[in-house]
């Protein structure tokens, strides 16, 4: 090796060593504001207690809501449907009437049974029943309540909203849009309750653990993301893999066992589950859909249960839905396939699978080779012409 080259390699190595000394631990504790921050036991303690207090208080409000709202809906439903909202909100009756027509169309469209169950769509100000001195989140979302009252089963979708926004929220429900994106209807998980009745104990527990997120959307035909759209020209769009949950990456890399965990243990992949699950656990709420803000772990995962029903048919799905066994056992028993294998095939069809490992996708490497070959060909032809000349 020439002397000059050694000299440059030496400079680079010294530079790397200096950077390593600068950046690698141990670091001096410091902040940009200039002073060291000591332990914050008081903050940690306050956060923990106030969070526990908030969850308990939110659960209490839901218990009270459930009591009063179910009384209104079950007592006031006409032909199985009730729409309720606060008085004095200035909403035109014709819009509410159109919403009811839309709801009935949706229910009859998939064969829902209104005789044995009442469906209620309730607009509730998010801060209804908040006592003085308490704070509550003003998140615009839909909560689902399931149960029986005076011998009548009910499924309630309770749309919480900021006072004054009712016309806007009602408009979104009429046009099937959520805060940022379209949605497929207003029924949410109630769609399955209205068609198959109350879920079995095992399935109900699973839904409340977070699987209701898979039941948010109604099945409808439409486009799924094609391989070409997802991967882009020559497949380079997938070179930088998404940074999300490891378990989701593993599923999207083709590992059935990881896909099974996503379906059967949904709390693992839903970041907002911590807050919502505590309220669901302590109150009559069974699902807290948060529209586009919920941490959907897989693309289109809100359709999973609808797709399951479409693929295996009503009979098998009804068996699954009413099963008292655990979700895993009920799944295998009803559909004859384990949850992981099915979820993997579902993910493959709606999104596609990226093989694991550091290599480029096959389309990217073959595309690159083709491009290099083409350029070499052009260079060769050019050189040949020059030689002849």
């Amino acid at each position: 090796m020439a002397h000059g080259m050694k000299y440059w390699i030496g400079i680079v190595a010294t530079g790397c060593a200096l950077v390593a000394i600068w950046l690698l631990p141990p670091n001096v504790a410091s902040t940009t504001s200039g002073w060291i921050s000591f332990g914050r036991a008081a903050e940690i303690r306050y956060d923990a207690i106030s969070e526990e207090y908030r969850w308990t208080y939110e659960a209490l409000r839901r218990v009270r809501w459930s009591d009063s709202l179910t009384a209104v809906v079950v007592g006031g439903a006409v032909e199985g449907v009730a729409i309720a909202m606060p008085d004095g909100t200035g909403v035109l009756d014709d819009r509410v009437e159109r919403l009811e027509i839309k709801i009935r169309e949706e229910i009859t469209g998939f064969g829902g049974q209104l005789g044995s169950m009442v469906f209620g769509f309730v607009y509730q100000p998010y801060d209804h029943g908040v006592s003085e001195g308490h704070r509550t989140s003003n998140q615009d979302r839909t909560e689902t309540y399931i149960g029986s009252r005076d011998g009548m089963d009910y499924c309630l979708q309770v749309r919480t909203f900021h006072r004054g926004d009712l016309p806007l929220i009602l408009a979104r429900d009429l046009t099937d849009t959520d805060v940022l994106s379209p949605k497929s209807g207003v029924l949410g998980p109630c769609r399955f309750y209205l068609k198959y009745g109350l879920a079995g104990a095992g399935i109900q527990g699973w839904l409340e653990e977070g699987a209701s997120a898979f039941a948010m959307e109604s099945g409808s035909e439409g486009s799924t993301q094609s391989d070409f759209t997802r991967r882009g020209y020559l497949g380079f769009r997938t070179v930088s893999r998404s940074r999300g949950w490891v378990i989701v990456s593993r599923c999207l890399a083709g590992y059935a066992e990881a896909c099974g965990q996503i379906l059967l243990d949904p709390a693992r992949t839903q970041s907002d589950a911590g807050h919502n699950r505590e309220i669901v656990r302590r109150s009559p709420v069974v699902a807290m859909g948060t529209g586009p803000f919920s941490a959907y772990s897989l693309p289109d995962e809100g359709y999973m249960i609808a797709d399951l029903e479409a693929e295996f048919g009503s009979e098998a799905f009804g068996k699954f839905w009413t099963s008292d066994e655990s979700a895993a056992a009920a799944f295998e028993d009803a559909f004859g396939v384990d949850a992981g294998t099915w979820t993997l095939s579902w993910a493959t069809s709606v999104r596609g699978i990226d093989p694991p490992g550091p290599g480029l996708p096959r389309s990217a490497s073959s595309g690159s080779m083709l491009a290099v070959g083409l350029l070499l060909g052009i260079a060769f032809m050019r050189a040949r012409k020059q030689k002849v000349a």
């Binding site: 149960g147 099937d176 209807g185 527990g205 486009s223």
Partner: protein, 380 residues
């Protein structure tokens, strides 16, 4: 069939309810008991936290008083706290920005409620203040950069924090004006940039506006008189209305359960598309707050000294009336002069030779020259 149920004055019912749950649900009395036991713990934790934060503040304050020597500078109504060695720089920069962008602001009550800190140096020091305004503790807006930052960046930040502070004067304006949402006219984008937005807005009203139709400009700004479907028809052609809906639902699996959406998208029924747009309750005004802000900024400029105070006084007026009051010219005339200025500031449609293309060319030449030399990187 239809009956709308009202929830007003709803009392807890006495009916028998059994909420379905696969998990352990708590009863109302259990939850109340739990809250009662948590409350004293929460109060104690909050008191401890407040004491801890007060202690941290005190430590920081005493440390700052030892290491920092600061002074307060006044530029008109603006008060700036800065290290003594930067007093001159702070005064010059704030004065320059104020003169260029805030000439219409004769007096701003909101400025009495704020303080600015200024540091444009690598050795920054902690700055604390106990200053109070007419309504209690003041809000502090920092302008703090290290010396590598360019003067333009620092000036932009000063303009932005001043605009934010002064715009609080308008918080008392009527809901009509606030709903119209003209952004912050004191920090409006340049007319050159606004022209790009206007030219690229997919709206028949916008195209007519650029062709000189003042009524169309007013309509595209959201200052027209039409409402409902009529307003949407003024703004967008049938094709544009259809594509507004199509863009929302593009590639989505959802939305197809609604007959209205299906009729609009699949059958291209404009009546159904219009119905969705009216229902959607979205702000569909072609020109958004970034363009509207340039109109208000223009009104302030036309109105000259005192225009800010007049805008502040127009609490109960409609947006058009407020603009007329601030600028002291009729709305039509104001919009016409805004359009004239906008077209005057139409950006060049070609890429200038300098600086970007020229620099690229210089670098390309530099690397080409290097490549033609014998390289010392050769192995062996």
């Amino acid at each position: 069939m239809f009956r709308r149920l009202l929830l007003g004055a709803l009392a807890a019912s006495l009916g028998w309810t059994n909420a379905l749950s696969g998990q352990t649900q708590q009863t109302e009395s259990e939850l109340i008991q739990q809250l009662d036991s948590l409350r004293p713990l929460l109060e104690r934790a909050e008191a401890e936290l407040q004491a801890y934060e007060a202690h941290v503040r005190e430590v920081a304050r005493s440390w700052a008083s030892e290491v920092a020597r600061v002074d307060t500078v006044r530029v008109g109504q603006v008060r700036i706290i800065t290290p003594v060695e930067q007093v001159e720089a702070a005064r010059n920069l704030f004065a320059e920005v104020w003169e260029h962008h805030f000439a219409s602001v004769d007096h701003s009550p909101a400025l009495d409620e704020v303080l600015f800190t200024f540091q444009w140096s690598d050795a920054r020091v902690p700055i604390f203040t106990d200053a109070v305004g007419p309504h209690g503790a003041v809000t502090v807006h920092p302008v703090e950069y290290d010396s590598r930052q360019s003067r333009a960046v620092v000036e932009a930040r000063i303009r932005s924090v001043l605009a934010l502070a002064v715009s609080m004067d308008l918080s008392g304006l009527g809901t009509d004006y606030r709903r119209w949402d003209p952004g912050n006219p004191l920090d409006a984008r340049s007319l050159e940039s606004a022209y790009r937005i206007v030219a690229m807005t997919q709206s028949q009203a916008s195209r007519a506006c650029l062709s000189g139709d003042i009524d169309a400009c007013a309509s595209a700004m959201g200052l027209g008189t039409a409402t409902g479907v009529r307003q949407i028809e003024d703004w967008y052609s049938p094709n544009e209305r259809w594509s507004l809906i199509a863009r929302t639902y593009a590639g989505a699996r959802m939305g197809r359960n609604s007959n209205t959406i299906a009729a609009c998208l699949d059958e291209r029924s404009i009546e159904h598309c219009d119905q969705i747009l009216v229902d959607a309750y979205r702000d569909l005004t072609p020109y958004r707050s970034d363009v509207r802000a340039t109109l208000v900024a223009h009104a302030l400029e036309v109105g000259g000294q005192g225009s800010w105070s007049r805008l502040r006084e127009s609490a109960d007026m409609t947006p058009s009336e407020a603009l007329e009051h601030a600028s002291m010219v009729p709305a039509e005339e104001l919009i016409a002069s805004w359009l004239h200025r906008l077209v005057e500031n139409r950006p060049d449609t070609y890429e200038r030779l300098l600086p970007k293309s020229g620099l690229t060319m210089l670098w390309a030449l530099f690397f080409a020259a290097l490549a033609m030399r014998s390289t010392r990187w050769r192995m062996g």
